[in-house]
Amino acid sequence: AQRVTQPEKLLSVFKGAPVELKCNYSYSGSPELFWYVQYSRQRLQLLLRHISRESIKGFTADLNKGETSFHLKKPFAQEEDSAMYYCALHSGGYNKLIFGAGTRLAVHP
């Protein structure tokens, strides 16, 4: 079955601390993974996709096929990073996205 698991509902850190938001997936083929972010009172927006291997707003995510993971990391969290983060798996076909439950990141001053 195709599934995305984000085990933490809430991750609370202080400004400047490292952050790792966990994402594990279950998919039989070659996975295509994304991180979407939703800031307070804003819409869901793409943060990064694994194929791009890019760093956006200091965040990176590496696909680990052995561990079936796509964890999101940032070395030094900022208050403006506080948001809801969703890991999503493209399931093939016509671009259906399968979302994890989301992790709320709260960065305290």
């Binding site: 016509y94 259906k96 996205l97």
Partner: protein, 115 residues
């Protein structure tokens, strides 16, 4: 920057009534989607739409649901006879092509409350 828009932002309806949720995708996009999020739960895929027909739908998208692109700009989701369990946030999304890595652009959502 172009954005997906959705109306209304909040819709309250009585059980059994029909509702139509409206979306205006980004103008040059060709692929359209509806997702929903019941409070406290995951964002779930409902349906994808391309070339004026449904390309994929989930188990949730039963005969009570339908989608339409009536005029080349709007993309609507109709729920024929609403149930209490249809109460959720409904998100419309669009993308400009069907590639696997392509970004889906989401609207702000319509909160549907069924009483």
């Amino acid at each position: 920057e172009p954005e997906v828009t959705q109306t209304p932002s909040h819709q309250v309806t009585q059980m059994g009534q029909e509702v139509i949720l409206r979306c205006v995708p980004i103008s040059n996009h060709l692929y359209f989607y509806w997702y929903r999020q019941i409070l406290g739960q995951k964002v779930e895929f409902l349906v994808s739409f391309y070339n004026n027909e449904i390309s994929e739908k989930s188990e949730i998208f039963d005969d009570q649901f339908s989608v339409e692109r009536p005029d080349g700009s709007n993309f609507t989701l109709k729920i024929r006879s609403t149930k209490l369990e249809d109460s959720a946030m409904y998100f419309c999304a669009s993308s400009d092509w069907g590639g696997s890595y392509n970004e889906q652009f989401f609207g702000p959502g319509t909160r549907l409350t069924v009483l």
